[in-house]
Amino acid sequence: MIFSFYPLGDSAVVIKLGEEISKPISNNIQALCAWLDEYTFEGFVEYTPAFTTITIYYEPWIVNYREMENLLQEMMGSILDNKVKTEPVIIEIPVLYGGSWGPDLNFVAEYNNISIEEVIAIHSAAAYLVHMIGFAPGFPYLGGMNEKISTPRKDNPRSKIPAGSVGIAGKQTGVYPIETPGGWQIIGRAAVDLFDINSAVPALLKVGDLVRFMPVSETEFMQIRGGKDGY
């Protein structure tokens, strides 16, 4: 594993594992997250994993940059030595595709010259890898979407996208955990919350999880929501 360190300001250090999105890099980042969950050190604040990097925030009056580098060298060494085999967790997300729940589904189908049914079939066939969480609480950056349903972002982003909206932007797919403005093509609505502030673990997904979207009917959707949001 090739890696490099660099400072992100005086209170964070970035470990970079590569230039391109890849499964092996994602696995290594997961292993680093697991290591940091297990062994914290004095001065450690928290970490944020991303596509090819993991950023560690620390208190420099307790441990300075040089000391951090040494610590991280040791950490990298022990990760490499013990190939941490973490079984990926598969999360199934029920989705109500189309209609008023997925107002851009028609556009995605037309843009790609396929039928709506094919878009749904392709979108729900894959197991997507969660590469990182960012942009909004619990928002997953998912890898592995079939390019047959790639669709560019909307020229005019919507000022409000309901929480739970499942969208496509370019080659990426994702789910909006909270209501925000956005330019993604919305193809459906997830029946589970990706972010729940009242839960002990507020974000449903984490780096390394695998996500599968499961098409459900309107009735099933209502049952799962169980009367939440006034449905």
Binding site: A12, E46, A50, T53, Y65, A136, P137, I178, I197
Partner: protein, 318 residues
Amino acid sequence: MGIKVIKGGLLTTIQDVGRYGYRKDGIIVSGAMDTVALRMGNLLLGNSEMEAGIECTLLGPVILFETDQLVAITGGDLSPAINGCPIPMWRPVIVNKGSTLSFGKPVVGCRSYLTVYGGFKVPKVLESCSTYLRAKIGGWKGRALKAGDFIPFRKPYEFSVAKFNWSPDQKMYPDYSGQIIRVIKGPEFDLFTEKSIITFFTEKYKISMEADRMGYRLDGPVLHLSDKKEMLSSAVAFGTIQVPGQGMPIVLMADHQTTGGYPRIAQVISADLTQLAQMKSGDYITFELVTLAMAQDLLLNREQQIKQLKQTLTFKYG
């Protein structure tokens, strides 16, 4: 026992030092823009540094105290007054039951902090009382304070001393008068043209009208990349200076999102974030390059000073 908000002010929110530990879940840190002012306000009252206070922005709120309380106003000088009479900043002040705290003209800086003895009784969300406005989480119902809000105190103020005759050495107050903001190189510093680097450190940048808790957009000479790479999103920090496509830098502030995908030319040193937090639209910034070692030394000094203050004040409060 608590305060009643009579007028909300421009942007008045409950903030503590920030919500840490959840950035990997996309939950931002938020917290006070000027954490040093908040911490000092708390220490002046014998509170834990971590207590939540009220951050007032430019146009301060009007607040009625329903019971006696000991307060401190720190940070920018927004002309605080009790019942119309100006009160000193950076020291404990007794507010009598039925009195009104109000603010007037901004004199220095733009963000002022109201801390109270024992802190406010505000529920913690994910271990912090800071307000995440965008996600409507934390603080007071996830939003800015408005007229009619009643915020309880954690405990009553029952000291007999009517007046405090001391305040910390003026050397301890942050100096908000500067225009120079020190930075270290950002991760993508080398991707910028030599000309742009020189420009960045010699020209003044003005804080535009688009400046808020999320970030300050700066107006000034455009910055160019010599190597235009599409970047993968990765983590950013308070003080990260990003340069999006059109070449105008944005400095990320307390409510910045956890990750970003724009090139990062520089990173404001933590010791200068308090200065930056007190700058507003129309103010000019000159950036100065320092080393990482120096940045960390400055931060170490600052923490030592705050620790000293804490020790001195613990002695006073017993």
